[in-house]
């Protein structure tokens, strides 16, 4: 009897322990997770905690002092330059380890190892795009350069020293929730991080979509719906700049008309996991001639998907060779956007197309030879092993051609495809060492240094803005941009020979650039870099309106101060609506409106054209315009039973401004002929019920409707880690480009005076731990448009009251 009782008690205890230690009953191992000794409570950092420690690492050459200010920004003072990268790696890992590993696992197509089979499609897509291949090519160049090799080696050593100091209890909470452990950091992971950014910024294309649209709609309609240049373009490079003509014209393939422009193919794969085309940014620089202080001011706000932990980590790095302040990417060494004692630098995305696809004809299903230049050419294959948590690994053989990896074929057909094979040609695959640019920029002193630095940057294309204390302002749009004959690369290209290959790159010195322009300011906001006098064909995904309004505002400012620039970054004026509202008001037929639609019309008429959080007019405008696009295009776009992408926003507006009998206004499903008045009125009537329900739930005000949210990187799985419902205005086409979950990920204004006066804020916090008070510390201030005065700390200031805690690293 007694023995039975004992057996029973032991059985119950061990079963309970097992269940609470595993994911078999509950989604999380609740016992392990809640244990005060090793579980989540260990991540509940005392709010009064401040990093104070004296650490010793034999691999250091000298002493490194780290001073943390009140916002937990580390100011790193290293006696030896290489030690600074070690400490930067250590600090990134200390505050952001989970995110930096997760983002590089994602880049490598290894998320299935963490979350299981549901990520296999994502991983496979990353592998097929050649992300690992691209990173390996980059790594070879990074490691061939002694400077970047040393920086990466020391950075990696710092990350790994931190990782080896971790035990079960001190792991970041995401590891505990998902149940895995960090692996060793490597220089390859740093290279993978740069490729993840490249994919975010230069991984968007529409080649499949455009080919399908051209095939279904015909050439004329295609050009009307997907034009290359907007009427109202305000290019990065001011109009009137003369461009040199190319030395030799490009050779257009003899069969381009039949085999390319008139090719009809609709059984194409529908690309998935595309990066957000809204990944863009604003930057501008104002020359001393236009500023109150007489010193140039540089402003930059990169627009990315907002996330917690933030993509950025703010810090200062001081070494005998340089002294730079700004934001860094956890995952790579150096300061990415910021300033040093002599210059400031910032970036916006160029949006230029640097990816094309070639149709490949394989000899057979083995896919080890393809037809090229009149013969069967062997394809190299790369075997991708996707390890999957909780099940068997997935193996994928990816053929590599002269163009690049085969992204779709019979074994990876993509959605809706007939299984044809397409190879991806992408500048991101080309060997390059973009880290060298930041290595040199961090220590650049003059325009020439900046110019020498940016040459190392091959992709993603960026508008690289520069301002110096000596008074220069400049911008170069920099990357290796393919030379294209007119129309090349808009659509899928034949890959049976070399005739459709890129014929080189636009010479770097002919990339669009401007130095100290007479107008006294430079700006870029993802618009087309140059007007049509630029002698090259430069397709891309371009913004139209932000650039125009920024230039209008800058031109009207006489004596610019940093405060003006901060206000400008938070400007919610809707220029698109300024152009589009008159079109709506001109065509709408008030007599045909319902009572509620008439009410919204009145609100729209009274609206002040700003997308402030309280404005109902902004929501009404947005809903009406979306509805109008739906009314005008859906009949044509849905007529073929194949998905077609909606034209850019400017296309309909410019069509209506030019011609109120625009051909797409007619609903091809009805016998009668619709016109602008009917479409505009119908659009408002269709939008009214949605607006009614918003009004009824008090969500009609723009801020409530937009519901700006900074999600945790795990998104829905970690919703309580997000910051939802932020009271912030802005939106698409607006300088304050904040949408539901996308927007200014770092706002910076730097006046290159003596001393430098700099302000910045980002929607996150320095510590990636959701149990730290520093996790989302800046979010509310960011939403309110507030900035922090940055402390560009000097060495003598170590006893300053702004130092709240300190760490020392010694050999």
């Amino acid at each position: 009897m007694r023995i039975l009782l004992l057996i029973l008690a032991i059985a119950v205890s061990t079963t309970l322990a097992y269940l609470l230690d595993s994911r078999s009953l509950l989604p999380v191992p609740l016992g392990r997770l809640l244990s005060p000794q090793e579980g989540l409570w260990q991540n509940a950092e005392p709010v009064s905690a401040a990093p104070n420690a004296a650490l010793s690492f034999p691999s250091l050459k000298g002493k490194v002092d780290v001073y943390f200010d009140e916002r937990l920004v580390p100011h790193v003072f290293a006696e030896e330059e290489q030690d600074a990268y070690f400490v930067q790696g250590w600090l990134h890992a200390r505050y952001r380890l989970w995110q930096m590993e997760f983002q590089t696992l994602a880049a490598a197509g290894r998320i299935s190892e963490v979350v299981g089979a549901k990520a296999v499609d994502y991983d496979r897509n990353m592998r097929r795009m050649g992300m690992g291949y691209a990173a390996e090519n980059a790594l070879r160049m990074i490691e061939a350069d002694p400077d970047t090799r040393a920086a990466c080696d020391r950075y990696t050593a710092g990350v790994n020293e931190y990782i080896s100091s971790l035990d079960v209890a001190s792991l970041p909470i995401e590891y505990k929730l998902l149940g895995y452990r960090p692996e060793r950091w490597t220089n390859l992971k740093t290279a993978l991080f740069t490729k993840a950014m490249t994919n975010d910024l230069a991984g968007y294309d529409r080649d499949f979509e455009y080919t399908r649209a051209l095939s279904l709609l015909g050439e004329e309609n295609f050009r009307l719906l997907y034009p290359d240049v907007s009427d109202s373009l305000s290019p990065v490079i001011p109009a009137g700049v003369a461009y040199p003509q190319p030395l030799a014209p490009l050779k257009v393939p003899a069969d381009a008309d039949s085999a390319y422009f008139r090719r009809r193919d609709t059984s194409l794969p529908i690309p998935t996991f595309k990066p957000d085309p809204a990944n863009g940014s604003n930057n501008w620089a104002v020359a001393g001639s236009r500023t109150a202080s007489g010193a140039p001011i540089l402003a930059n706000d990169p627009h990315l998907r907002l996330s917690l932990p933030s993509i950025w980590f703010e810090m200062q790095i001081h070494t005998p060779a340089f002294n730079a302040y700004g934001v860094s990417f956890p995952g790579i060494p150096g300061i990415v956007i910021g300033f040093n004692e002599d210059i400031a630098f910032g970036f916006t995305n160029a949006g230029r197309d640097v990816r094309d696809y070639y149709e490949i004809r394989f000899r057979d299903d083995l896919r080890n030879a393809y037809w090229f230049n009149g013969g069967w050419k062997p394809a190299e294959s790369r075997i991708e092993e996707i390890r999957v948590r909780g099940s068997q690994p997935v193996l994928d053989t990816v053929p590599y051609t002269v163009f690049g990896p085969v992204i779709y074929d019979k074994s990876h057909p993509g959605k809706a495809s007939d299984g044809k094979a397409y190879a991806l040609r992408w500048v991101a695959h080309d060997p390059s060492n973009i880290l060298r640019m930041w290595y040199l920029l961090n220590r650049a002193r003059h325009y020439d240094d900046y110019l020498a630095a940016i040459r190392y940057f091959n992709v993603p294309g960026q508008n690289m803005l520069f301002a110096s204390r000596s008074g220069d302002i400049a911008l170069w749009q920099q990357a290796n941009f393919p030379l294209r004959w007119k129309g090349q690369g808009l659509f899928l290209m034949p890959g049976q020979d070399s005739s459709y290959m890129w014929q080189g790159f636009i010479p770097t010195e002919e990339n669009p650039h401007v130095v100290n322009p007479p107008q006294g300011y430079i700006s870029s906001a993802n618009q087309r870099p140059a007007d049509t006098t630029y002698p090259y064909f430069i397709p891309g995904t371009y913004e139209v309106y932000r650039g125009i309004i920024i230039n209008r505002r800058l031109a009207a400012m006489p004596s610019v101060t940093p405060e003006d620039m901060m206000r400008l970054q938070n400007d919610n004026y809707n220029l698109f609506a300024e152009y589009a509202r008159p079109v709506l008001l001109k065509h709408v037929q008030p007599a045909r409106l319902s009572k509620s639609a008439a009410y919204y019309l009145r609100l729209l008429e009274e609206w002040n054209l700003t997308n402030d959080p309280s404005e109902k007019g902004a929501t009404i405008f947005s809903a009406w315009w979306d509805s109008l696009q739906h009314v005008v295009y859906t009949d044509e776009l849905n007529a073929y039973g194949k998905p077609l992408i909606r034209p850019d926003r400017f296309v309909l507006l410019e069509a209506l401004l030019r011609d109120s009998s625009h051909r797409f206004l007619d609903d091809i499903r009805t016998p009668q002929q619709e016109d602008a008045a009917q479409c505009v009125t119908k659009a408002l009537l269709l939008a009214a019920p949605m607006l009614d329900s918003l009004e009824a739930t008090e969500h009609l005000a723009w801020g409530r409707f937009k519901n700006t949210t900074v999600y945790h990187l795990l998104r829905e799985a970690a919703k309580p880690f997000a910051r939802p419902g932020l009271p912030i205005g802005g939106g698409v086409n607006i300088i304050n480009a904040t949408t539901h979950e996308h927007g200014p990920s770092w706002r910076m204004v730097v006046q290159m005076s003596n001393p430098i006066e700099a302000y910045a804020v980002y929607p996150g916090g320095q510590d990636g731990n959701p149990g730290s008070r520093h996790y989302d510390r800046f979010v509310s201030d960011w939403a309110a448009g507030k900035y922090y005065r940055l402390w560009f700390m000097q060495k003598e200031e170590s006893q300053d009251t702004r130092v709240k805690s300190r760490m020392s690293f010694k050999p």
Partner: protein, 140 residues
């Protein structure tokens, strides 16, 4: 007084062992701690469950409470919403304590039943015997 001591000592021993085991053993060592404590002090089965529960509950609950208070419940707010679907730090702290308590109670019961099996002489759980040991312990 003596009776209070009789309960206090096994609890204290459980808490001490929980901490010590936790330094090198996984979270379920809280059960092991109660098991050893109750076995060593030869506590009868029913009290052993209660005392093990009480000790582990207090240990896990108190520890958690201290950490969460110094954190101003920042993490407890987020994690209670994630785990329980309810933004209530106290519920999560309570759940933590309850899990610790349950493991401690079951562990204590196992220890007690085990000792009863290998030392049938103490099967009847003579008070005097247990008490003398307790007194011995308190003298040390």
């Amino acid at each position: 007084m003596k009776s209070a001591m009789r309960h206090f000592i096994p609890c204290l021993l459980t808490v001490g062992l929980t901490y010590a085991f936790g330094l090198f053993l996984p979270w379920w060592s809280v059960a092991l701690a109660a098991c050893l404590a109750m076995a060593a002090l030869r506590i009868r089965p029913w009290p052993s469950f209660l005392l093990g529960f009480l000790a582990a509950f207090t240990c896990w609950g108190g520890w958690t409470l201290a950490r969460s208070l110094s954190n101003e419940h920042i993490l407890a707010h987020r994690m209670s919403a994630m785990i329980l679907g309810l933004d209530n730090p106290w519920l999560l702290i309570g759940l933590t304590a309850a899990i610790g308590g349950l493991m401690g109670g079951l562990g204590g019961l196992c220890g007690s039943l085990f000792m009863a099996l290998i030392h049938p002489s103490t099967h009847e759980f003579e008070h005097s015997e247990t008490q003398s040991e307790v007194e011995e312990l308190t003298r040390q």
